[in-house]
Amino acid sequence: MISSINKYFCAFANSVCLVFIFFFNSCVLLAKELSNEAEVSSLGKYATFQFDYFPTKPLFSNNELYILSFYELLLIFCGIILTLYILWYIMKPKPQIFTEPGFKIINLKNNHYFTPLKSESQSLEFLEDLEVSKSYRLSGNLNRVILSPHKNTFLLEDKNFKNALLINRRRLHRKVLYDNDLLDIGEMVLLYSNNLFHEKNFQRASHINYQSVYQSTKPKGPIQKCVPFLKVSGSKQEIPLVKNMNTIGTSKINDIVIESDEVALRHAKINKVGQSWKIQNLQNHENTSVNGRRIDQRFLKEGDEVAIGDFFFKFSTNKSQIKRQKKIKK
């Protein structure tokens, strides 16, 4: 749409420019002829605003000079500023606010098409029935992706592991949806909106523990340089793996505690095997993945992305260790 308008505009502009250039040429020629005819000697006449030596040919109006007064000028000025304000106001985008939870389609073809959700457990099959979705290729087996109501929002469960369904551009199988979460279903891109937690309705609790990942027992003394650590994505927090065996989960018995709905009490463990580190899933029905792939157990490398429930970590060995290894190789 926009590109086609642009093309039309460019064509129109080119034609207008040609007309302008034609006019301008004719104007210059006329002026040359006229200036040859006219004999002007004094300098003062050049400098005046009106050119006396041009022929008098009133085309559109008579020659009576009409000059604006100061108050008329003020009026016109106010008018200009008002029209500028109106232009500013008209062109300003107004955000749509929906009271119900639902999905927005944010592909360019169907800009901001909204489908509200019923407050009962349902599958995502209803997307195939929409008129809008005929132009997209959706992933199959959408009847096995189930939305069930959960604390004012929805819980999304994907029972078919071969589906091409991404949540926040990551492959997940179970997630509680929050406002502005992104779903990729085949070619269609959906934005979940739930205005129950809109800024106006949102009230801050008196005390929030912002640190939702922490170690149950903090290591005493300085940490050795060769110790690897987990970087929490979205913050600067780093968790060193001091012990040889670290368990991860929601209960406080674990070495690394995560406060989340989607993490089990005793979810996973990371232990040292020889020189390398191994991650192991402890609950069969829960999801731990490395680099977007669901795993049972795997050896970790430098820079691997570990997902536990909906929390994401980056595993990295310390830099000093790498330097030391390089020195040994040399």
Binding site: V28, Y46, Q50, F60, S69, Q96
Partner: protein, 289 residues
């Protein structure tokens, strides 16, 4: 749409400059009647002041052009208009003085006037570009401003040829403003092939067109793309630049994060069609028109 909007702004600039010229002559006549002479040569100052008034009107609207398109706050728009008017008045005075200087060298008056118009168009666009020297798009804008001034001035002189004076200066001055802003708009439209769209929050639905080569994005009003109403956005957060149809994004400080497809980037990364960019709490989508 964008070009239409800018040309409408140019029309408004022409109207404002016309009104100023008219009222300026009115004031001059009043002074002349009361036998108060500002300078010894009245005709000279008359000629200069016309230029300064025209520059005042044109600069006021052309300077606030970009901030009106991106819906910045009204205080910012008004301050930019004030700055533009100040610069425009000085530039108009200088350019018309140059035209007068050329007339003293016995060059044709019409040619002198045309050169002064082109210099006016040229310098006004330069003054709008002073505060964004980082955009690698100064030359095309400035050249198109000069050409616009030439065309508009030509039509103005053509109208003078038929002795259309008084309120009918309106057409000529409107066409000056129109042609300057229209040509700049054409030059910007030629380059734009991609844009960012804001998906969430109070600025939802806003479009950031990539019409230059380099951009800054952040909280501060000195940026090209302002994300004003979001938490965790730094003053100067990200730097975006184009290189042969490929667009790169760069994180300026290590303290804050730029997420592309929900993954944090190390220093810089190229972005593709349909990518989601998260800066602070703001969600942006990159797409090609």
């Amino acid at each position: 749409m964008r070009n239409f909007y800018f040309s409408a702004l140019g029309l408004l600039a022409g109207v404002s400059s016309w009104a100023l010229v008219q009222s300026g002559f009115n004031a001059f006549d009043a002074l002349f009647d009361a036998n108060i002479h500002l300078t010894d040569n009245v005709s000279l100052s008359d000629f200069f002041l016309e230029g300064s008034f025209v520059g005042f009107g044109l600069g006021m609207v052309l300077h606030a052009r970009a901030s009106l398109w991106y819906h910045h706050k009204l205080v910012l728009v008004l301050s930019k208009m004030f700055l533009g008017a100040f610069f425009g008045a000085i530039i108009g005075l200088l350019s018309f003085a140059f035209g007068y200087f050329m007339q003293t060298l016995h060059i044709e008056p019409l040619l002198c006037r045309m050169t002064s118009w082109t210099i006016l168009g040229f310098l006004i666009v330069v003054s709008t570009e002073i505060f964004r020297l980082h955009s690698g798009f100064i030359l095309p804008r400035v050249i198109s401003g000069g050409i616009g001034g030439l065309i508009g001035g030509g039509i103005f002189e053509l109208l003078l040829l038929y002795q259309i004076s008084g309120p009918d200066h309106l057409f000529g001055l409107i066409l000056v403003g129109f042609s300057i802003s229209f040509l700049i708009g054409i030059n910007e439209n030629r380059v734009t092939s991609s844009a960012f769209r804001v998906l969430s929050g109070p600025q939802e639905g806003q479009m950031f067109l990539l019409d230059q080569n380099n951009f800054y994005m952040g909280y501060n009003f000195q940026n090209d793309f302002i994300l004003n109403d979001y938490a965790e956005v730094c003053n100067r957060h990200a730097f975006i630049w184009k290189n042969d149809k490929e667009v790169f994004i760069e994180n300026l400080y290590t303290d804050n994060e730029v997420l592309v497809n929900y993954r944090s980037i190390d220093h810089q990364q190229s972005i593709k069609k349909g990518d989601i960019i998260k800066i602070g709490t703001a969600l942006l989508q990159y797409y090609e028109i």
